[in-house]
């Protein structure tokens, strides 16, 4: 699409349509540069500036509200043109020449990009012009048999399980298994026959007492049972001094009650 500076009387709508067909001012400038039919390495900025300003002027006659970037570029190019037209020995002219070369360089860069895009597009593109295997085969096996474990995790898991296990168990008060007087009566009754002489009260306590509390309770129960059995003469009790050991031995039975003590 060559933009016609040679067609100033082109219909207005066509002009606007053309402007909208470009991707911004740089795109239009590149197209103008191309239409010079010169080597892109030798872009004449002054020529394309004139053409650009003509196009913008024409477009503004059709519609005033032209996008800002088109107008900004137009203003800048007007400034550039004024610099380029100054006598060659002035500093401003040199500034203009530098700016013009920078613009030409940008246009060349954009031109190169366009050409490369075209070059890429002309290559045999995978999925368009050449096709890879539609059903690739995967010969990879994934072996998940190996375990990733370590001792720290094992011990940590144990702690977690134990702590949770303890927390989740419902609280149950431990039943007190105290040695009752009834228990002591039974035990004393059984044991007395095999005790020939005075024996310490402690000897009649059960074997499986677990703690000091249980032990003291059993001692108390056994003493109570001893008193009970001493009353009907089944056994005899003695304590030689205050807080001294309590001893007991078998009595002669209920009939013996009231008889004087005889240790013969």
């Amino acid at each position: 699409m060559a933009l016609p500076s040679s067609e100033p009387d082109a219909p207005r709508e066509t002009l606007l349509l053309r402007l909208q067909g470009f991707e911004g001012p740089l795109d239009l400038l590149l197209d103008l540069a191309r239409s010079q039919k010169f080597d892109l390495a030798q872009i004449s900025i002054l020529d394309i500036v004139d053409q650009y300003l003509t196009v913008i002027e024409g477009a503004r006659r059709v519609r005033l509200e032209l996008a800002a970037d088109w107008l900004v570029m137009a203003a800048w190019l007007t400034w550039l043109k004024s610099r380029l037209l100054l006598p060659a020995d002035q500093q401003e002219m040199q500034d203009g020449a530098v700016a013009a070369e920078a613009l030409a360089e940008r246009l060349r860069m954009l031109a190169v990009v366009r050409l490369l895009a075209g070059w890429l597009g002309a290559r045999p593109i995978l999925g368009q012009d050449v096709f890879a295997r539609g059903m690739p085969e995967d010969h990879t096996d994934i072996d998940r048999s190996r375990l990733a474990v370590d001792l720290a995790t094992l011990v940590g898991s144990y702690l977690r399980a134990a702590r949770r296990g303890a927390r989740d168990r419902a609280y149950q008060p431990r039943p007190l298994t105290l040695w009752t007087v009834q228990d002591a009566l039974r035990r004393l009754g059984v044991m007395l026959g095999s005790v020939p002489d005075w024996a310490s009260l402690e000897q009649f306590l059960p074997d499986h007492l677990t703690g000091p509390t249980e032990r003291r309770a059993a001692l108390a129960s056994t003493f109570m049972a001893g008193l009970e059995m001493a009353r009907d003469g089944t056994l005899r009790l003695r304590q030689s001094e205050a807080f001294g050991p309590i001893q007991l031995r078998a009595g002669l039975g209920p009939l013996e009650t009231g008889l004087p003590e005889d240790d013969a």
Binding site: G134, L154, G165, A166
Partner: protein, 178 residues
């Protein structure tokens, strides 16, 4: 029957190669010129690939290229991915390690929750635990203990290398009676 043109072979080869599903002889026939005998083209193509690293196979009524059966095992690459034990399995394993031999009911008592069959099977399959006889109590439950593989896996010389529960807990759990 006409001779098979090289062009037909190329076309058939490219189509079967690029297709995402097996190519039916009918679809192939539509691609080939009318003059071509589809079956003959397929036969010629199969002959061309005969004995090569890739062969033309007929799968589910369609044609596709496939790695030659004798080559496939040599292409096989095994990628080892380390698998983590699920949390439940790890806890169960830890309890067995510390309290072995113990029954399932005892494991459940310590963990405070029921033990799924799947967890037990995971540990069994991994070779980390094994049955250690039966307990002579009602129901004669199987008791479980850890294996030599367990020691190897965790880099332990023997079970005494496990840190004792007393070092870990103020009040170590006791398996329930039974």
């Amino acid at each position: 029957m006409t001779a098979i043109e090289e062009d037909w072979l190329r076309l058939a080869e490219a189509m079967i190669f690029a297709a995402a599903t097996p190519v039916t002889p009918r679809a192939l026939g539509q691609l080939l010129p009318d003059a071509a005998d589809t079956d003959a083209v397929i036969a010629a193509l199969r002959a061309r690939y005969d004995g090569r690293g890739v062969e033309l196979a007929e799968v589910g009524g369609g044609l596709q290229f496939r790695t030659a059966a004798d080559i496939a095992p040599r292409l096989r690459r095994v990628i080892q991915l380390s698998r983590r034990l699920p949390r439940v399995a790890m806890e169960t394993l830890a309890i067995v390690a510390y309290h072995q031999p113990l029954s399932r009911a005892e494991i459940e008592h310590i963990r405070g929750v029921a033990l799924s069959q799947q967890t037990l099977e995971t540990l069994l399959e991994a070779g980390l635990i094994e049955p250690k006889g039966r307990r002579e109590t009602p129901g004669r439950p199987t008791t479980w203990g850890t294996t030599t593989a367990f020691l190897t896996q965790f880099g332990l010389k023997d079970l005494r290398e496990l840190p004792p529960p007393e070092d870990l807990l103020l009040e170590p759990p006791r398996p329930a009676e039974g």
